[in-house]
């Protein structure tokens, strides 16, 4: 009998020791990441039949159980993956937002400063000082655009580096999980769960979820881990590697690749993963930032730079510089970037230009060839711009671009990446640092001589691209016929109106009607194209008022340098709606650019904040199951300590019973 009491007391002591062990383990790991609170599981030991009833056999410590909830942990991992993506994306987007900086300074101010500087030039056209000031504003603009380009490059490099680091960590964790799968299988064979290894494996999955969104399937052989569209990272004891490689379609960017089974003797061909295969986590966030914020923003700013250069150059070409020569280019900017896909098997070389560089598109495109059809896809919006059965030859603009396969041919499956404006920031530069190169003067000067007796006036005249002014044209008004004569033979005079009237000047006797009541806007163009030498082309003047008979108007080349008409015209480009399909000015486009980046950053901030709150909530829920509460442990400590004392008392009692029995014989 007392033997049984000894045994029962002993089992109680054992159980209390397990309890104290587990409690100390819990207390010591109270702040260990990934630790799951443990409890001893007690069961009543089986009884023994006696005539007086079943005699209890004390307590058994069945196992030490982890308070682990698969459901809550999976939820937490998913939430962590989303949060990881958002926080990475937000961190990068807010860096970009910092790059843009104050909306009241920076590139927009530089553009405005350049244009207002041109008004100063127009006020003082022959002053080298004001020209130099305008040129300095241009230099500032170029520097700011270049530095923006550098910062975009840095952000892209930073994305590439982070991808490399993240992919290396992913490989480490997946290999860890595979190893743990093996160890856990071996350790579990003895019948008790290896709690410490299980904690480690769950912690590895949680860390992996920070880096990339994964789904975990638990089966008899352990955890199987899959990414996006089903590529396995871990299956039982095997892990599969991810890698990074230069993107096939854009050499400036790294793509994530799937490299197959780690340690395979014959590695399978590298598979490029699309961004849809990599959602969530740092990797997902980086890829999303790059494709949805970084690339479009750089293209958008590049479009502004491209349009600015094209507009200013075009207007400068319509003027006369301080040296009296036709205006040349003031700015240079690179043409669209074209990448031939590394996987191309054809020999085609593609060159791409703008149909109208003043209205560049800011989207990116891909030209593909399959099934005898060339397809141009807008990769920013994902829509097909156009298809053709014949190879593009640079004659018909499509999507605002002139595509031309200059040599070779495309094979089926070949593709080209076209980035029309993304390279503009790095290539934007001043073409000419000479202050006299600003073509401030207009090339034409129309006027009335002082001997006119009527009240008619003529505007000073404007020119359009491809203009040519040959000598002085003197127009004479004949009151009896109401006509002007004296236009150069070989030109065609167009009188504005609806519809416009065109009169080819076939001989010196050809006249053009003029009505004093309506006035007339006249455009003189060469009748034949291209314009032959010595024929006036592209000159417009407006005549208003009532001329007297015999009054004359002269249209002559301008030789004066104190003329700022073209500088003024150039400064007015600031309000020229050329971008976004002819609806936005440069400033409005820059405002839209700032707005886009600001929106991206502030939306991500909000999303990130709410996702962080969600993670906190789920963490609390998960920790309420699996976390260590020290008060609870203190109470457990007391409980097990007392259990230990009580069981000791049981043994002491058994002993004293035995002593009492022994005392009978003395």
């Amino acid at each position: 009998m007392s033997n049984d009491i000894f045994n029962i007391g002993l089992s109680g002591l054992n159980a209390a020791q397990w309890g104290l062990q587990t409690t100390s383990q819990n207390i010591s790991n109270a702040s260990t990441p990934g630790y799951t609170v443990e409890n001893p599981v007690y069961a009543e030991a089986s009884g023994q039949y006696t005539g007086s009833g079943f005699l209890g056999g004390g307590v058994d410590t069945v196992t030490v159980r982890r308070n682990y909830s698969q459901y809550l942990s999976t939820q937490l991992n998913n939430a962590t993956a989303t949060s990881g993506a958002l926080s990475t994306n937000y961190a990068m987007a807010s860096q970009l937002s910092n790059v843009v900086g104050s909306p009241t300074a920076g590139i927009s101010s530089a553009i405005t400063a350049y244009f207002t500087g041109l008004q100063n030039v127009s006020n003082n056209a022959n002053s080298v000082a004001t020209r130099q000031t305008a040129l300095s504003a241009a230099q500032t603009l170029a520097t700011q655009l270049n530095s923006a380009g550098e910062q975009y490059d840095q952000l892209r490099t930073s994305v590439n580096q982070q991808l490399q680091t993240a992919v290396a960590s992913i490989n480490t964790y997946s290999s860890q999980i595979a190893t743990l799968n093996t160890q856990i299988a071996a350790a579990s064979a003895q019948g008790q769960p290896p709690n410490q290894l299980l904690d480690q494996r769950d912690q590895a999955v949680a860390s992996l979820s920070q880096l990339v969104g994964v789904s975990v399937v638990q089966n008899s052989s352990g955890y199987s881990v899959f990414i996006g569209n089903g590529q396995p990272l871990v299956v039982a004891s095997q892990n599969f590697k991810l890698g990074t490689a230069t993107s096939q379609s854009d050499p400036s960017e790294l793509a994530v690749t799937y490299n197959g089974l780690a340690g395979a003797t014959t590695p399978p061909p590298v598979e490029y993963l699309s961004s849809s295969a990599l959602t969530g986590g740092t990797v997902g966030g980086l890829l999303q930032f790059r494709s949805q914020t970084l690339d479009p923003a750089e293209s958008q700013l590049g479009a502004i730079a491209t349009s600015f250069a094209a507009q200013v150059n075009a207007q400068n070409a319509l003027g006369i510089d301080l040296a009296g020569a036709k205006g040349g280019n003031l700015f240079t900017v690179g043409s669209p970037t074209v990448y031939s896909n590394q996987a191309n098997t054809g020999t085609a070389t593609l060159s791409v230009g703008f149909a109208n560089a003043a209205q560049p598109t800011s989207d990116d495109y891909a030209l593909t060839f399959a099934g005898g059809t060339y397809t141009l896809t807008d990769t920013t919006t994902g829509s097909v711009v156009g298809t053709s059965a014949t190879a593009p030859n640079g004659t018909t603009p499509i999507g605002g671009l002139l595509l031309n396969i200059t040599s070779g041919s495309m094979n089926a499956g070949d593709s080209f990446t076209i980035q029309p404006t993304r390279g503009a920031l790095n290539t934007f530069a001043l073409a000419n640092a000479n202050p006299s190169s600003i073509a401030a003067s207009a090339p034409v000067l129309a006027s009335t001589p002082s001997s006119n007796t009527g009240t008619a006036a003529i505007t000073q005249g404007t020119v359009t691209a491809g203009y040519q002014i040959s000598g002085t044209t003197t127009l004479t008004y004949n009151a009896s016929t109401g006509t002007l004569s004296g236009f150069q033979v070989g030109t065609t005079v167009t009188i504005a109106g609806t519809p416009p009237t065109s009169i080819p000047i076939v001989s010196a006797a050809t006249t053009v009607p003029y009505s004093a009541a309506q006035g007339a806007a006249l455009t003189i163009n060469s009748t034949t194209t291209p314009t032959p030498a010595g024929i006036t082309n592209g000159v417009s003047v407006s005549i208003s008022g009532a001329p007297a008979n015999g009054d004359t108007f002269t249209i002559a080349p301008n030789t004066g340098t104190f003329d700022g008409r073209n500088a003024l015209a150039m400064s007015k480009l600031v309000s020229n709606a050329s971008l976004n399909g002819g609806t936005s000015t440069l400033t409005a486009s820059y405002a839209a650019y700032v707005n886009n980046i600001g929106n991206a950053a502030s939306q991500l901030k909000a999303a990130n904040t709410s996702q962080t709150a969600l993670v906190t909530q789920i963490t609390s829920a998960q920790q309420s199951v699996s976390g260590v509460n020290l008060d609870e442990e203190a109470s457990n400590l007391l409980q097990y300590q007392q259990a230990y004392q009580a069981n000791s008392k049981v043994i002491q009692t058994a002993d004293s019973m035995f002593q009492t029995l022994m005392g009978i014989f003395q």
Partner: protein, 412 residues
């Protein structure tokens, strides 16, 4: 709910972290005075700020343009005032030269005086601004606009270029007038036709100023020649309209000094004293090229005054006619300068009015911009205070709660 002790610590730290970062943001706003440092702070306001900054810079530029235009116009105005006063001096000299009691040497000295004034006018016409640009040479700012021509008059080397400054969104204002429009032309309205006698006339006929009897008649702008015929005792005259195509000539009409000669149907002119047969007179429009150049007019007057005329009735008549011609043409030129000066004054007034408007707009834009980007101090300070209090409360309660552990009460 069961609380995990480490999660409890973590969560408190997180809360205090976010409150501290909020506090830092408010502090930065308060110390910098800017609420909008990056577009992420307020994307919509950032986009508006870009536009407003441009508008604000544009107004600043308009102010610069207005000042620059005003400077140019004020210089031109001042120069034209000097031109007018010099011309008035010349005018009175010409009137004085018409005094019959003067002898040849008196007139020669008057010619000298006028020559002096002419040189002054020439200097004024070749005025340049502070940067060395000639005021009246159009776009040819570095070319001296006027040089004296041999045989009287001037050569104009400038052009008709008019510089315009952008002084408001839709307003460009001319900041100069070409030399030819100031000194070499006269307006067709507000001026009178110029009468002249041929210098080779042998009679003593004196032509007066043409008077307009009917301003609506189109032929008032034609140029006429009056030719005398008949005999010395009974002179007749014919009037030829040289502008009509072909030229028309009236039938010979008997001349009477007391009857004005009709020029077309809307104009008449008186010829007094005794013209000889063969003598010719002319009446030409003010805008005719021989009448419109100020310098040519002055040079002809000087040349006429230098011709000896004492005791020679024909020469005296020729002098008198030349002075009549000169005075009319000169008055026309004076009218022209006055008209140009009035236009300059008008532009100056417009600029001054625009300066006020631009100033108001500029202030408005600045204040809009400040509203968008600036910190609302009151709300920023109160937010700062609020967050600070919340943080303090969080810290104090954290200290209290973390002290509550069962371990403190057991053992001992």
């Amino acid at each position: 709910m069961r609380i995990s002790t480490s999660q409890f610590y973590n969560q408190n730290i997180q809360t205090m972290d976010s409150q501290e970062s909020q506090l830092a943001t408010y502090y930065q706003q308060l110390s910098s005075g800017t609420a909008l440092t990056t577009p992420a702070d307020n994307p919509l306001a950032a986009a508006q700020a870009v536009q407003l900054t441009m508008v604000s810079a544009t107004y600043t530029q308009y102010t610069t343009n207005q000042n620059s235009a005003l400077t140019s116009l004020q210089l031109e105005d001042k120069t034209l005032s000097s031109v007018t006063s010099t011309m008035q001096s010349i005018s009175s000299e010409i009137v004085r030269a018409g005094d019959g009691s003067l002898n040849d040497s008196d007139r020669a000295s008057i010619a000298k005086t006028i020559q002096g004034y002419r040189d002054q006018l020439m200097t004024l016409a070749n005025t340049s601004d502070g940067a060395g640009n000639y005021l009246f040479s159009g776009f040819q700012a570095t070319t001296q606009p006027f040089t004296s021509a041999t045989g009287g008059g001037v050569n104009y080397h400038g052009d008709n270029g008019i510089r315009e400054a952008q002084v408001a969104d839709t307003r460009q204002i001319a900041t100069n007038d070409s030399g030819s429009s100031v000194f070499l032309s006269v307006p067709s309205v507000g001026t009178s036709p110029v009468s002249a006698g041929n210098a080779t006339n042998t009679g003593t006929g004196l032509i007066g100023r043409a008077s307009i009897t009917n301003p609506a008649v189109a032929t008032n702008g034609d140029s006429y020649t009056i030719t005398f015929g008949g005999t010395a005792a009974a002179p007749t005259y014919t009037v030829t309209d040289n502008t009509a195509v072909p030229a028309t000539t009236t039938a010979a009409t008997a001349f009477s000094a007391s009857t004005p000669i009709a020029l077309g149907t809307g104009m008449q002119v008186s010829i007094t004293s005794t013209p000889s047969p063969g003598d010719t007179f002319s009446v030409t429009p003010a805008t005719a090229s021989q009448n419109s150049s100020l310098f040519s007019t002055i040079d002809s007057v000087i040349a006429a005054l230098q011709q000896p005329a004492s005791n020679n009735p024909a020469a005296t008549a020729t002098l008198s006619n030349a002075l009549t011609t000169g005075l009319s043409a000169f008055q026309n030129s004076l009218t022209n300068v006055t008209v140009v000066q009035a236009s300059v004054g008008g532009r100056e007034q417009e600029l001054q009015a625009l300066q006020t408007t631009t100033q108001t707009n500029s202030v408005q834009t600045q204040s809009d911009l400040a509203n968008l980007t600036g910190v609302d101090m009151v709300s920023a300070i109160s937010n700062f205070q609020l967050t600070q209090n919340a943080l303090q409360a969080a810290q104090e309660s954290f200290v209290k709660i973390q002290g509550m552990s069962l371990f403190q009460y057991i053992g001992g």
